[in-house]
């Protein structure tokens, strides 16, 4: 492709203030665009516009949820915080589990990509959350997946479900991560908008915790892992077509798929490579490349650090020809990480990468000052205050309104339903219930996941909780469960979230573990719908208040809005993950009765 003849540099942007820019197509509102111009004191370059537009998206900036999520911080007491080594604001929450061990865990959604391309969408969802865990300095230990689909017999479920399950399994199995739990739920509101939430848990020695920041003037920025390609660029290809109108190849870019293809083998090798790098103590800071790719990695590292950053973008190894700076910055190519390394350690760093056959390239340096500057073949194409990109995006106080239909919905309770009378009807009801896709055995799904790999799985499907051993000597391990009942949440999002928390908490407790921390993946409809925002606000409050009652903190999570088909939003689905600790996994309590003759069955609670 020969299209890239003109580079929209910073100096060019300064002299051409009136060049029209496709900010709307990139998802920026009028006032957001105006604010970018105000921050920069000029119009943004194409590359800057690409960066701001992805980083200020709902997904990356949490612009509609931030005002509500604050409530987690406000309600977390010192006592709840005691064991928390990293919390909300980091790639993943980290808790101290004793004996010098720290555990990190986080959930993330990959809903829309999994609808478009079920296998790859789900696979790259697993890949992304695993990199989040690696970015904390941990070895990933296990994954869980929480799935929602339309009715089991709907034609589209037949397309989506097998692909999603194969993708979760295929990617996770290939990484050697046992799959130890999750959920599969069917409801018509998820037809056209399935939910694919993946959770990863990892462990490390507490002193090895790595945080994503670029500090130390003169330290090098190293990009390692896969090459950067055109996959997953999606909306940003609009830039090419807008600015080079009439150019055939540029117009072609407009149709780029926003789907990425995963390469689990590359990720597996990347994991082993990262662990060796951590072990040698030569990583100052590290960040995974997920949504928003290099835009996110560079601006977040720089923003969280104590200096500025200079990047030579033309050093990034590319998989496609003719990529523009904006495309390189927005590419969501998978299996990449970005590290900050002392100059004296660079050779050793590169040697470790070479051993694992992982491509690694020095692409920049930490500078003094407070700007993120990105050059392209000697011309500056980005010159921004990184905080304005990564952490000071727009914040919205969206209208919140309890839906009018809520009362009718609640009034229509189960009391009015007829009850089975007599043994025959009772039997019928029971048979119908156990045949229902939401209650039937999940072994069709779970048999496709490897829960044995690496030999540390102590409990997994069909147990209520996954239990994984961390330390073979002492038997120390963790228990983890995810839960959510969207129908309860629809009736009462506050209590629904608490029920999800309580269920997950109970599941962890019955395995014999002591719960220590909570994560979440909050899946909701459109943030622009006041009724949805009410559900969201209520769910956050319910969860936070529930956590106070139980005395364990929310250490992180993820928000996914705009899950709807036309005007129909999904059931509010705040998936809650609870993490527990066992001093010795040999004392785990397996699920099920009848292991020994003569057992006594007791019912606890009301």
């Amino acid at each position: 492709m020969t299209s890239v003849s003109v580079i929209d540099s910073v100096s060019q942007a300064a002299t051409t203030p009136d060049t029209p820019q496709p900010y709307r197509e990139l998802g920026l509102a009028e006032d957001e665009y105006a604010r970018i111009r105000e921050i920069l004191g000029r119009r943004p370059t194409e590359a800057e516009l690409a960066m701001y537009s992805v980083m200020w998206s709902e997904h990356c900036s949490y612009k509609s949820s931030k005002v509500h999520l604050k409530y987690f911080g406000e309600t977390t007491t010192e006592e709840m915080r005691a064991k928390m080594l990293a919390g909300i604001g980091e790639n993943a929450g980290v808790v101290d589990i004793g004996d010098g061990w720290a555990v990190t865990f986080k959930a993330e959604s990959h809903n829309h990509p999994s609808y478009v391309e079920p296998y790859q969408g789900a696979a790259t969802g697993v890949g992304g959350i695993v990199r989040d865990i690696m970015a904390m300095g941990a070895r990933p230990l296990a994954v869980l997946d929480s799935l929602r689909f339309g009715p089991a017999d709907a034609p589209d479920t037949r397309r989506v479900l097998p692909g999603v399950v194969a993708g979760v399994g295929g990617y996770g199995n290939c990484l050697g991560l046992p799959n130890v739990g999750g959920e599969v739920v069917f409801d018509r509101t998820y037809a056209g908008n399935p939910l694919v939430n993946a959770l990863c848990v990892g462990a490390m020695r507490a002193e090895d915790l790595h945080l994503a920041h670029a500090s130390g003037v003169g330290n090098k920025i190293i990009l390692f892992g896969a090459s950067t390609g055109l996959d997953g660029i999606g909306g940003v290809s609009v830039l090419a077509s807008e600015s080079f109108d009439g150019d055939e190849s540029a117009a072609g870019r407009k149709k780029l798929p926003s789907v990425q293809v995963g390469d689990p083998f590359t990720e597996k090798v990347l994991i082993e490579c990262c662990l060796e790098l951590f072990g040698r103590g030569i990583v100052v800071g590290i960040q995974d490349l997920g949504g928003a790719g290099l835009s996110c990695a560079t601006s977040e590292l720089a923003s969280a650090g104590d200096g500025g950053m200079h990047i030579d973008l033309d050093r990034v190894p590319l998989r496609a020809t003719g990529m523009t700076p904006a495309e390189i910055l927005s590419s969501e190519s998978q299996e990449r990480m970005c590290a900050v390394v002392k100059p004296s350690d660079v050779d050793e760093f590169l040697a470790v990468c070479a051993k694992w056959d992982v491509q690694a390239t020095e692409i920049g340096v930490v500078t003094d000052g407070d700007r993120l500057v990105i050059d392209w073949h000697g011309e500056t194409v980005v010159d921004v205050p990184p905080r304005t990109v990564a952490h000071e995006g727009p914040v919205y106080q969206r209208p919140v309104q309890r839906p009018e239909k809520q009362d009718t919905l609640r009034a229509n309770g189960s009391a009015a339903l007829t009850r089975p009378s007599g043994a025959a009807e009772l039997e019928q009801t029971l048979l119908r219930m156990i045949a229902s896709p939401n209650l039937a055995s999940r072994s069709w799904v779970t048999q496709q996941y490897d829960h044995y790999v690496r030999g540390n799985t102590v409990l997994a499907q069909p147990a209520d909780t996954g239990v994984v051993r961390i330390d073979e000597e002492t038997g120390r391990g963790v228990a983890i469960a995810t839960d959510c009942n969207g129908r309860f949440c629809e009736l009462d999002p506050y209590q629904g979230a608490q029920l999800a928390l309580a269920e997950s908490y109970r599941n962890v407790v019955v395995s014999g573990a002591e719960p220590v921390a909570v994560t979440n993946c909050l899946n909701f409809g459109a943030a622009t719908d006041p009724g949805v925002m009410w559900q969201f606000q209520q769910a956050v409050r319910g969860l936070a208040d529930g956590c106070v009652a139980l005395g364990i903190p929310v250490t992180g999570g993820n928000v996914s809005f705009y899950n709807q088909t036309g005007d129909t939003a999904i059931l509010p689905t705040p998936v809650i993950g609870v993490l527990g600790v066992l001093d010795d996994v040999r004392r785990r309590i397996p699920t099920g009765i009848g292991a020994e003759a003569g057992e006594t069955l007791l019912l606890l609670g009301e």
């Binding site: 478009v116 391309e117 790859q120 896969a226 390609g229 055109l230 996959d231 780029l256 798929p257 789907v259 990425q260 293809v261 995963g262 390469d263 083998f265 590359t266 998989r319 496609a320 190519s333 998978q334």
Partner: protein, 79 residues
């Protein structure tokens, strides 16, 4: 009766990990000079004469390939 071949290949801009792995392995096996490899699928179908080209295209597009990430082509061959 006719024999039909449907080729399904990953789109050029899409990562092809399998092709990459094959290309990476060849030099290690002592084969040099292969600069790129892409790996796709080949389907061989036996079809009744009632099946027209439009139907074959639809089968390829809606079922054998995922057009989001794959290109496809259909051709009838001598049996």
């Amino acid at each position: 009766m006719a024999r039909v071949v449907v080729d399904v290949m990953p789109k050029p801009e899409i990562l092809d990990p399998q092709g990459k792995a094959v290309a990476g392995a060849l030099p290690r096996l002592g084969f040099t000079g292969v600069t790129e490899v892409r790996q796709g699928k080949r389907f061989e179908l036996e079809v009744d004469d009632s099946v027209d080209d439009a139907t074959l295209a639809k089968i390829a597009e809606s079922f054998l390939a995922n057009p989001v990430i794959e290109d496809w082509s259909v051709r009838r061959v001598e049996p």
